[in-house]
Amino acid sequence: MAYCSARLRTRQTCSWVGRPLLDQKLHYQTYKEISVKREGYSTEIHIQVGQFVLIEGDDDENPYIAKVVELFEDASELYSKKRARVQWFIRFCEVPICKQHLLDRKPDTQEIFWYDNPTCDNNISVETIIGCVRVVALAPDEVMPIDLKNEKTFFVKLSWNKKKFKPLPPEVLAQLDKLQEDNHRYQKSMEAKTKSAESPSWTTTEHAVKRIESRHSTSKSRHTASHPVTPRARKRLELSNLGFPRTPNTRISQATSCASLDSPGRMKRKVAFSEIMSPSKRSLPDGSQTSSPALKTPEKTRDIQHSCTKDARKTSPDHGMILRTRVPALKATETSEERILTPTSRGRKSSVVPSVILKPEYIKRREGKEPEVRDEAPSTSRIRRKSSILTLNRIRQQLRFLGNSKSDQDDEEFLPAAEISDSDSEEEEASTTPLPRRTPNSMSRNLRSSMKSSLQTPSKTPKKTPQPRTPRDATPQIRSRNLPAQEPTNMLEEARLRLHVSAVPESLPCREQEFQDIYNFVESKLLDHTGGCMYISGVPGTGKTATVHEVICCLQQAAQANEVPPFQYIEVNGMKLTEPHQVYVQILQKLTGKRATANHAAELLAKRFRTQASSQETTVVLVDELDLLWTQKQDVMYNLFDWPTHKGARLVVLTIANTMDLPERIMMNRVSSRLGLTRMCFQPYTHSQLQQILLSRLRHVKAFEDDAVQLAARKVAALSGDARRCLDICRRATEICEFSCQKPGCPGLVTTAHLLEAIDEMFSSSYITAIKNSSILEQSFLRAILAEFRRSGLEEATFQQVYIQHVALCRMEGLPYPTMSETMAVCSRLGACRLLLVEPSRNDVLLRVRLNISQDDVLYALKEE
């Protein structure tokens, strides 16, 4: 796919092919075909109506897939006048994660779904088309052809209508099948054209024939561009190729190493063949023919498979050789006639074959035909043959040494990388025999190959060895308990359970207006297919997050009932991030399930939301604790608020923070402007609202006296209006009630006395009790501080000054003389409790002392005795 992404970056020029047909009704000029030409590439892609194409998406790895329905020119569009109407297909990874489970089997990697969504925008610019692709329609009960793991082939089996997977409607299936046939015809003709277009580049490379590298690179470009290698061999190559683009010589060398398994006799036979035979013409049909049984016979028997493998193995060296021999052929400037023919036949074979289901006898017939074809195939210069036989013999010996002379595919996979490169270099040596300068070349080649082998090994090893170290797939889970949790046994316990903040009530009382506002906002955005931002503020514990959750819950229910379009909901919390930029990672992960670094995630998200991603449903993002996302450049906030403004982004961002004037205070103008003016402020609860909340939670439980509930509500409303506080107080009051109850088992109601005690416990300052309970020396030190403050008239004194006062006080009260060390210890103890504020004690007698509470409080606390 690196190929695709490389193509992406180049500029394209499109031109219509054929005469325009004027559409009467739409006043468009429609066309049948378009040719797309890329800068830097001599290739041209011809796209016709009805073909399947890849379309540039937000993910380089997985471009969108669609079928071209219509090609037309639209003058009303500003940038790209050449438009195409498409029928979308959707990949499994594009299905929202929350819906992925609906497909109860594991999807095939190449499986796509017919996207049955008429609301989806299907008008695209032609320039976004990357290239053609093959799509094979399968009946629902048909087995996925395993061996056809071509990157450019997809299977469609089901359709997806945003709700569920359904088998393809018969008419669609029929249509697709028909298209497929057409498609092949197109492809044939098209590829032929491509090849002819390519030919000039061949002649240019010709001049560099002596340089093996360039020779191989040309062979590669041909190799990968159009020509499907024998699947077996291809697969093998890919296995060793994973994650590391390998140069073609290694491929060839691998192929040769496969060939080494063949008997020398065969080799000799091959050698006996004359050069006159055109290699490319003969061997390639052979390659694709042998591949055919392997392609489309999932039910094939073991021996057939084996023979296929063998065939593939046998033919693969030929491929390598052909690629090599083609250069001299080119050099001889044989005209394109033959060359055009070759890829054509190849293309025809490979594209037609999958649609034909081979019968066993057919395969057998093929096999019977095989040898002769094979015999015809090899044809290279005699000299090279000899040397290559030598090499192959050597390799075979090595293989025998490894004890897998009759190796299977697996064994070949495990060929040590060093050996591959070894055979590679030797192979190349052999291939260069005609050249007189041998030694310097081989020198450099050896160097190269050793370098390669060192490069190969790391790429291989991590694939093979299982990784016990980093548990990637660890499921986050806390151990479950053996003993089930006890259910509440009495009224008070029941009440406590209901009063816990975590207990979610059926509805949120007293937030009806806010609920309605948010609901309307999100619903309208969903219905309009647009995006927007909303800022919600309010002091802690006023139900901001709970209200939004409820809104989302209701909307999800509505979406289930088809009242609003379905949407995806994502929640992030600024406090649950280690760093503001992590928000991208979280959003991306929740959106697509992919992991990425913060920067990459930001890019992907920007791409997703900025480009007209048509096949998406609306995304609703809740950003809690927005102020934590503040950065110096404010880029995180900017992006969050900027994305919804893009056309087609379909992003609704709900943000929550504590401060009402956050946009004005910390945001730059451009950020707060994007946030917009849709704001909402949650006022602190009033006492009647709090009372209503409490009563709604205690509706069926008689545990509280009415006065007690009212008292709690009023107290909290006067202090903060925080519902959490209110609930906590009541919960504590039930505990106190239970604790103070004489008869265990049948506790009475929670009275105001209990509630007052709870309030007292939670809100009373502990400073005074701390002073009352401190030791005599500590108390007299506090007195000394007060005396010193009074003397100096300041609110701060050095330890030395206080010490003098302290000594005097102790003398007056008849206490023993306090030493400096003792007094210092007293001072630091009081400092540790934060009754005093002291400097670090390294300042010794000069450390400054302050009171952390008012002087009156200290006096009050000390006077009590």
């Binding site: 170290r469 980093t470 548990p471 660890a474 986050p476 889970q477 806390i478 151990r479 479950s480 308990r481 003993l483 949790a485 006890q486 406590r496 359970l497 816990h500 903040v501 975590s502 802690p540 514990g541 406090m575 649950k576 991030l577 280690t578 604790e625 934590l628 504590n658 959490r724 506080r725 906590d728 505990e735 604790f739 416990e761 939670m762 809100f763 502990s766 400073y767 009790t769 701390a770 309970n773 401190s774 030791s775 005599i776 020396l777 500590e778 030395q800 023993p816 400096m820 060390s821 003792e822 210890a825 007293v826 103890r829 540790a832 409790c833 934060r834 010794d844 007698v845 000069l846 952390n852």
Partner: protein, 437 residues
């Protein structure tokens, strides 16, 4: 052994005696040796037994004083204990999430309280295998990253390999949150988080850890109870408002709220040997001695003095430890004198002691500094000024003080440099020179 060698030494002159005498003497010596051996074995064995008892007593008591073992008794915190244990039980049995702060000055028994409660909780049937504990300390887990790794490790989640936690900070956080989010009240194991030095966690960036832990305790996720231990009374002011809102505001205060008679009782209890002590007679004697000590007037005086300075039990333990160290086999019981000595050690004035041990030159230098300090009203001064002052002093009393070279003086000042480098310490020295001379 001593007697034995004496005997041998005494025998030496006889070695030169004629054979008869020698044999006579040897007989006598042999007799004497056997006698000495007998008596020494007797005293030795009794001594040995005594030493054994004493070492046992010391071991038991030292363990009691130094470790916050959950086996000891709690003093004056029954109400708080009840509150805490009920809370823990509700989490363990009913799966209720909670958060609580235990606040009290240093040495007031916060850790002991929680240890006691956990021990009792674990003894409840079916709880110990159904509960997870996470112990964190603000002094060890100095940032959220380390704290998260530690939590993950202690919970033994699936991303723990061996003893190590892999992954970045962000990954760990999301993993842990995901893990805790998955649980629910009835089915997942409750987790007890104990955050020692809770105030230090409040200084972490954004208070991310506290927010998340407290948020879990306030939402329907895995049941957790978060217990913070701190000595700061202003702890709630340290919490950010949204963190504070999520905290349940339960506070358990430990205030050393006992009077002197109770303190005396604690003293008695702390020194008494348990009834399981193997040697009953010795234990009885020891306990009798402790009883009489607690009624002794001078002991009461010592304790009162100690009580006045500091009420916490750790300082009492320190005092008792020093007294206990004076117990030897020959001096098997603590006396009032031991306690007085120990008290003296406790309340020793460290800086005064330094001044006591200074040489003449150093004293002279310090006096010089004091003069300077008086003249310049607490302004800082440099070495040259001190040296000049010293020179003047020497000239005045040339007969009594030897005049030292400047480098020598410099060196002397240098040795006390850590003390003298700060101006405050000059002043400090002044005070002490006043006191001691």
């Amino acid at each position: 052994m001593a007697t034995h060698s004496n005997v041998l030494a005494w025998r030496i002159p006889w070695a030169e005696e004629p054979e008869r005498l020698q044999s006579m003497g040897s007989q006598r010596v042999r007799h004497e040796i056997s006698f000495v051996e007998m008596s020494s074995r007797k005293s030795k064995s009794s001594n040995l037994i005594q030493a054994d008892y004493v070492s046992q007593v010391q071991r038991i008591l030292r363990e009691r004083f130094c470790h916050q073992s959950p086996h000891g008794n709690l003093f004056g915190v029954q109400v708080q204990y009840k509150h805490l244990i009920e809370l823990l039980k509700r989490t363990a049995i009913h799966g209720e999430s909670n958060s609580v702060l235990i606040i009290g000055p240093r040495g007031s028994g916060k850790t002991m309280l929680i240890n006691h409660a956990l021990k009792e909780l674990m003894e409840v049937e079916g709880v110990s295998e159904n509960i997870l504990q996470v112990h964190l300390n603000g002094l060890l887990q100095i940032n959220d990253k380390i704290a998260l790794k530690e939590i993950t490790r202690q919970l033994n989640l699936e991303n723990v390999v061996g003893d190590k936690v892999f992954g970045s900070f962000a990954e760990n956080l999301s993993f842990l949150l995901e893990a805790l989010k998955k649980g629910d009240r009835t089915s997942s194991c409750p987790v007890i988080f104990i955050l020692d030095e809770f105030d230090l966690f409040a200084h972490h960036k954004n208070q991310t850890l506290l927010y998340n832990l407290l948020d879990i305790s306030q939402s329907a996720q895995t049941p957790v109870v978060i217990i913070g231990l701190t000595c700061r009374l202003d702890i709630l002011e340290l919490l950010e408002k949204r963190v504070k809102s999520r905290f349940s505001h339960r506070q358990i205060h430990l205030m050393n709220s006992f009077s002197f008679p109770q303190y005396l009782k604690i003293f008695k209890e702390q020194l008494s040997l348990p009834s399981i002590f193997p040697e009953k007679i010795f234990a009885e004697k020891w306990n009798e001695n402790v009883q009489s000590l607690s009624e002794d007037r001078s002991v009461k005086e010592v304790l009162q003095k100690h009580f006045n300075v500091s009420k916490n039990l750790r300082s009492l333990h320190m005092l008792l430890m020093l007294a206990l160290n004076r117990v030897t086999p020959s001096h098997p019981f603590i006396t009032a004198a031991d306690l007085m000595e120990a008290n003296q050690l406790c309340s020793m004035d460290s800086k005064g002691n330094i001044v006591h041990g200074l040489s003449v030159l150093e004293i002279c230098l310090i006096i010089a500094m004091k003069h300077l300090n008086d003249i310049y009203e607490e302004e800082p001064f440099n070495f040259q000024m001190v040296y000049n002052e010293f020179q003047k002093f020497v000239q005045r009393k040339a007969h009594s003080v030897y005049n030292f070279e400047k480098p020598v003086v410099m060196k002397f000042v240098g040795t006390y440099c850590p003390l003298l480098s700060l101006p405050s310490n000059y002043i400090l020295k002044r005070n002490y020179s006043l006191n001691s001379t």
